[in-house]
Symmetry: C2
Subunit: 107 residues, 2 copies
Amino acid sequence: MFPSPLASTPEPPYYAVIFTSIKNEIASGYADMATEMELLASKQEGFLGVESARNEIGITVSYWASLEAIQNWKANTRHLQAQKQGREEWYTHYKIRICLVERDYGN
Amino acid sequence: MFPSPLASTPEPPYYAVIFTSIKNEIASGYADMATEMELLASKQEGFLGVESARNEIGITVSYWASLEAIQNWKANTRHLQAQKQGREEWYTHYKIRICLVERDYGN
């Protein structure tokens, strides 16, 4: 079997940030910023992986070693710009949920 | 602003089940079963909401009031059939993560 393209996370416990959103029909600059943010996130200390999909709604789940790592990423200067643009221009609705992953299984 | 099509969950803490998967190209019967399972899940005690999207990977996040509600849903007879068919026929990879939602925010 080929390596899984799903996020390869360590044994729990670790953290997940579930980011769900509804985009405007016109969301100029969104795709480039999404790509840039995914790359930038992956370079942060404590980053464990990310999974994304979008149809009517968009879901991005990022995985982190600690709450501190999540807070540092939230406060990243470039990421703050992206968050502001997201709130003001791109998303009609969004929700962020900070979660402790207690257990996982799969193949 | 129109009501949000994102899951309307109560104040944390509550639970999230993050289900990520890669489907086979041929996944006969998958779409009907996915629709059926989403409807059936929504009738279970302790169900709080669900969000789904699929491109290369599929992400379904369901929200639950308690671990007991999650365990009851996992043990549901019809759901057990769907899980078996998923493992044997539909998914090349899948992962399930059981999470405690500690905090959330959004609009």
